[in-house]
């Protein structure tokens, strides 16, 4: 049953998730929720890669490997981001993104 799923479904799904993630990034005030939105975006990209790999190029495995690396990088980036957030929290006891506006005119 599952074999007949055409590729567009996967792509549309990935796109939707991507743009939901963008919406979340633009709307949320808390830094950590912004980070969660970013994870959503990355995840959507992973799905995209995997879908392309499986359906268009069944013999090669590039998509999968790429996805592996994306996951690894996402992990690293999330940890660094958390470290920064903790640092900011220590300075101003607040992680509201609107309060972080020192690079302005």
């Amino acid at each position: 049953m599952f074999e007949g799923v055409p590729i567009h479904w996967f792509l549309v799904l990935a796109t939707t998730m991507f743009f939901i993630g963008i919406y979340g990034f633009l709307v949320r005030k808390n830094l950590i929720t912004m980070l969660m939105s970013i994870e959503l975006i990355l995840n959507s990209v992973c799905i995209n890669f995997v879908a392309f790999n499986k359906i268009l190029f069944p013999e090669h495995l590039e998509g999968m490997f790429f996805t592996l690396f994306i996951i690894a990088v996402a992990a690293a980036e999330a940890s660094v981001a958390i470290a920064i957030i903790i640092n900011i929290y220590r300075r101003i006891v607040n992680i509201d993104v609107e309060k972080m506006n020192e690079m302005k005119y």
Binding site: I22, F25, L26, V97, E98, M100, E102, Y105
Partner: protein, 639 residues
């Protein structure tokens, strides 16, 4: 064909001295700059004498006339195919003669300045600008084309400005230098328009072409009339305007008396012997064209005659010795212009031309001598005014003797130089126009009168009480005086008619005793009146001046010409021309710029919100931009 290319050094040496001393003058002791400048001019003097000797006596004449040689003609700027500005050296009788005059007087002034300017603060600057002036004046006289002459003309004006304003801390000196520069610059405007008109009509700047036998100047520009005179006449008149400004002819004479604010050696060099004769030289250079335009030449003669009379009258009333000499210079140059104006062209007809050049030559000697002598007097007494001097003959023997020689020369007493040259002028004028002759005759008498008035007031009269005993000038100052005195005495015997004439052909002449004897007679009358009034201290002079009343006051105030000029500039020009222009500049031109700045300010104030520091705003803009571009490229670009 003898090679004259070494003459380039006559020009280059003063220029090099100027540059070197200008840049390094303050590093060495002042005397070093003085010696460098003087040596440079000494070399130039020797080169000029050598050139003159070779030119007049060694090389052959062509058709009996002296050749006009181009030692050097470098094509500098090509304006069109045929019209080009060259830089070069033209040797012809008048330019070689002027070389001698300029280098001699300049050399004497350099030696004199070693003594006169000693201890002055700007000693090195003085010598470097003197060299600049020598360079410019030498360049002016050996110019091959009128544009080169114009370039050096302006350079001479600049040097004069720098030297008049030498004591720049004095307001009067600064004002005088500005006045000189502005008046001569205004005259040069006419000169430039004249040059452009002339070159437009004839298609060339070159002197040899313009004044040769088949000059295009004789044929072109005759048809079009403007205000009753042809275009060629207008261009000649405009060129003469430039010359009139430089030579202090009426009404552009106002700068010359004020120029006496400069140091005395400057007055001797520039305003007596060399720069002020530039105008006369210009007319002499363009003489064939002037001669062709009758009306232009007439105007030259009348302006010259009127100026000489006018200046002589004023000179009789002045008390500042340098101003008396300044007006005397104006008067003598007027005589030179007059002589040129009444001259014909070719052979015997060209007597006026020859007389004018001869007078230029001798005048340089005795006028420089007079000024340098005045400098020695001022140096001894520390005052410029006649009424504070008297009885100086006991204290300044050498100055006294040389000054007396110069006065006799300028009065026209034989056998001194002035007699011969002035006599020729009177002869030429007599044969042309009797009214002008009467004016010239009167001027000769008045010249004798005011010069001896000066002489007696300074050297005779009552003994004043001086602050300290006046001492004779040092050797560096008296030696030039003596040399110039020798020149004034013997220069009259040089056979000018063989050397410098209107068409370069020598001719014979003899002294016309019918004119010479009355000339000497009126000179003696003038001297006699002066002796009666001034030799002994008396009240006669004051009684005469009171009797003349209003006329005397007018003459004393230089006929109020300065006030007229001030009125014109202040009331008319400033109010009606300068004020609107200034208003326009301030409000419209500056206003536009200010508006630009204001608008920029306002706009930037409004859009600085883009840099708010809000991360999400940045991200929003970014995402929207990407989507917008994607839309654009996918659907709207129908490439």
């Amino acid at each position: 064909m003898i090679d004259f290319s070494y003459t380039i050094w006559i020009l280059l040496i003063p220029l090099l001295v100027f540059v070197v001393t200008g840049l390094t003058g303050n590093r060495f002791k002042p005397i070093v700059t003085g010696i460098v400048g003087t040596t440079g001019l000494g070399v130039v003097f020797l080169l000029s004498v050598f050139t003159a000797y070779k030119y007049f006596f060694v090389i052959d004449k062509v058709d009996g006339a002296f050749q006009r040689l181009l030692a050097f003609n470098y094509n500098w700027l090509n304006l069109t195919d045929k019209l080009h500005i060259n830089i070069g050296i033209l040797l012809d009788p008048i330019s070689v003669m002027m070389l001698i005059v300029i280098s001699t007087v300049s050399f004497m002034v350099h030696i004199y300045s070693l003594g006169y300017m000693k201890g002055e603060k700007g000693f090195a600057r003085f010598f470097s600008i003197l060299s600049l002036f020598s360079f410019s004046m030498l360049g002016l006289v050996i110019a091959t084309n009128i544009f080169q002459m114009y370039i050096f003309w302006e350079l001479v004006g600049v040097s004069s400005f720098l030297l008049i304003g030498f004591y720049y801390e004095r307001d009067s000196a600064v004002a005088a230098s500005k006045k000189a520069f502005i008046v001569t610059r205004f005259a040069d405007l006419g000169f430039l328009i004249g040059i452009l008109l002339l070159s437009y009509l004839t298609g060339t700047f070159d002197f040899i072409t313009l004044t040769g036998p088949n000059s295009p100047a004789f044929t072109s520009g005759q048809g079009i009339m403007f205000l009753g005179m042809s275009t060629m006449t207008w261009s000649m008149l405009l060129i003469f305007m430039g010359g009139a400004g430089k030579s202090a002819m009426f009404p552009l004479h106002i700068w010359l008396p004020d120029a006496m604010e400069g140091p005395t050696p400057v007055s001797a060099l520039i305003h007596a012997a060399t720069m002020v004769v530039a105008g006369v030289y210009l007319v002499a250079r363009m003489f064939p064209i002037f001669h062709h335009q009758e009306s232009a030449l007439d105007i030259v003669a009348w302006v010259g005659g009127f100026t000489s009379l006018f200046a002589a009258v004023i000179a009789c009333t002045q008390y500042d010795i340098k101003r008396v000499l300044a007006y005397s210079t104006m008067s003598q140059i007027g005589m030179m212009m007059l002589a040129l104006g009444v001259s014909g062209y070719g052979g015997e007809e060209g007597l006026g031309y020859m007389a004018s050049m001869f007078h230029l030559f001798t005048h340089a000697f005795f006028k420089a001598l007079l000024f340098l002598g005045a400098g020695a007097i001022i140096h001894a007494v520390h005052s410029n005014y006649m009424n504070e001097m008297g009885g100086l003959r006991k204290y300044l023997p050498i100055t006294h003797a040389t000054f007396l020689i110069a006065c006799l020369a300028i009065a026209g007493i034989p056998p001194f130089a002035g007699f011969f040259s002035k006599d020729e002028i009177l002869v030429a004028t007599f044969h042309h126009n009797k009214i002008l002759f009467a004016m010239a005759y009167l001027v000769a008498g008045m010249t004798a009168f005011y010069m001896f008035r000066l002489y007696f007031n300074v050297f005779w009269g009552k003994d004043q009480h001086y602050h300290h005993t006046p001492h004779e000038a040092p050797a560096t100052m008296t030696i030039p005086l003596i040399i110039l005195a020798i020149g004034s005495t013997f220069a009259g015997f040089i056979p000018f008619t063989k050397l410098v004439t209107s068409d370069s052909l020598p001719f014979e002449t003899h002294t016309e005793w019918g004119i010479a004897i009355p000339a000497v007679f009126i000179a003696l009358v003038g001297i006699g009146i002066a002796t009666m009034l001034y030799m002994k201290q008396s009240e006669n002079s004051k009684k005469i001046s009171l009797a003349l009343g209003g006329f005397y006051t007018a003459a004393f105030n230089k006929f109020y010409i300065d006030q007229v000029y001030l009125f014109i500039t202040k009331k008319i020009l400033f109010n009606y021309v300068s004020r609107p222009v200034a208003w326009f500049d301030r409000h419209i031109v500056d206003g536009t710029m200010n508006q630009f700045a204001y608008v920029t300010n306002v706009v930037s104030d409004r859009i600085k919100g883009f840099q708010s520091g809000q991360l999400q705003q940045y991200a929003l803009v970014f995402v929207s931009g990407v989507i917008g571009l994607a839309l654009l490229f996918t659907y709207l670009w129908t490439n």
